[in-house]
Symmetry: C2
Subunit: 139 residues, 2 copies
């Protein structure tokens, strides 16, 4: 199949597929006489694999690692794949914690403010930003 069909079947765009090729994630299996990219059913499965992994939150780099495991399973062990997942879990947990501390800081700002049509001269939000030290966001 040509790139348009793969795009439709995989839910990616042709642009993105070419970009993935340039990035080394998914190379077309061949070329037609007129130099069109030709993809196989296996390529479609790979495209879907990539899309699922991206949706779950893996970066293109991490997807690349999965693909290299996938391309030669007997050479790899479960621990290889699990390590990727577990590292990602730690990262995501950390991001959630950060956002929760941001949320707390925002609530402290918002809850103290009347939010009414009073002049902002004594607005507690502006006040707090003038003087309060926010919980630092570490990353």
């Amino acid at each position: 199949m040509k790139i348009g069909e793969l795009a439709e079947k995989s839910g990616l765009t042709a642009h993105t597929l070419r970009y993935y090729e340039k990035s080394g994630l998914l190379k077309a299996s061949g070329r037609s006489a007129s130099n069109y990219r030709i993809y196989t059913k296996g390529d479609l499965e790979t495209a879907r694999f990539i899309k699922r992994a991206r949706t779950i939150g893996f970066s293109m780099d991490e997807v690349g690692t999965f693909l290299s495991i996938r391309s030669d399973l007997p050479k790899h062990v479960c621990a290889d794949a699990k390590a990727l997942a577990d590292t990602k879990i730690k990262e995501v947990k950390h991001q959630i914690e950060e956002l929760q501390s941001v949320l707390k800081a925002l609530h402290r700002l918002s809850d103290a403010c009347c939010g009414g049509s009073e002049s902002a001269e004594y607005c507690t939000i502006i006040e707090a930003l003038e003087h309060e030290d926010p919980v630092p966001m570490q990353h």
Copy 2:
């Protein structure tokens, strides 16, 4: 004071301060005879204001809005400031929810995998990425 001193006192770098000037967040109050940026105590307070707002999670654009409120408080009402905070709260909550669904998907991957030194030929993580439809991440 010159940019270096302001950098030290505000916790921003001179680079960042110049960048903020270019972006319209914080302009130096004046220039010396030798064209050095000259900042006042008021500028220092503004720099700290910006830093606090950024730390809490506001974008540079949003900080700009806060600054325009702050620069003429009588013209604005509490609702203006609170609206910014509450919009941000919604955004952050949404991001947290997204990450939590990502985390769930990751746990589903990881928990099913033995993680041992068995060959990856039957690795459930790879399997899942081949076939399972992940919870889509909406944004």
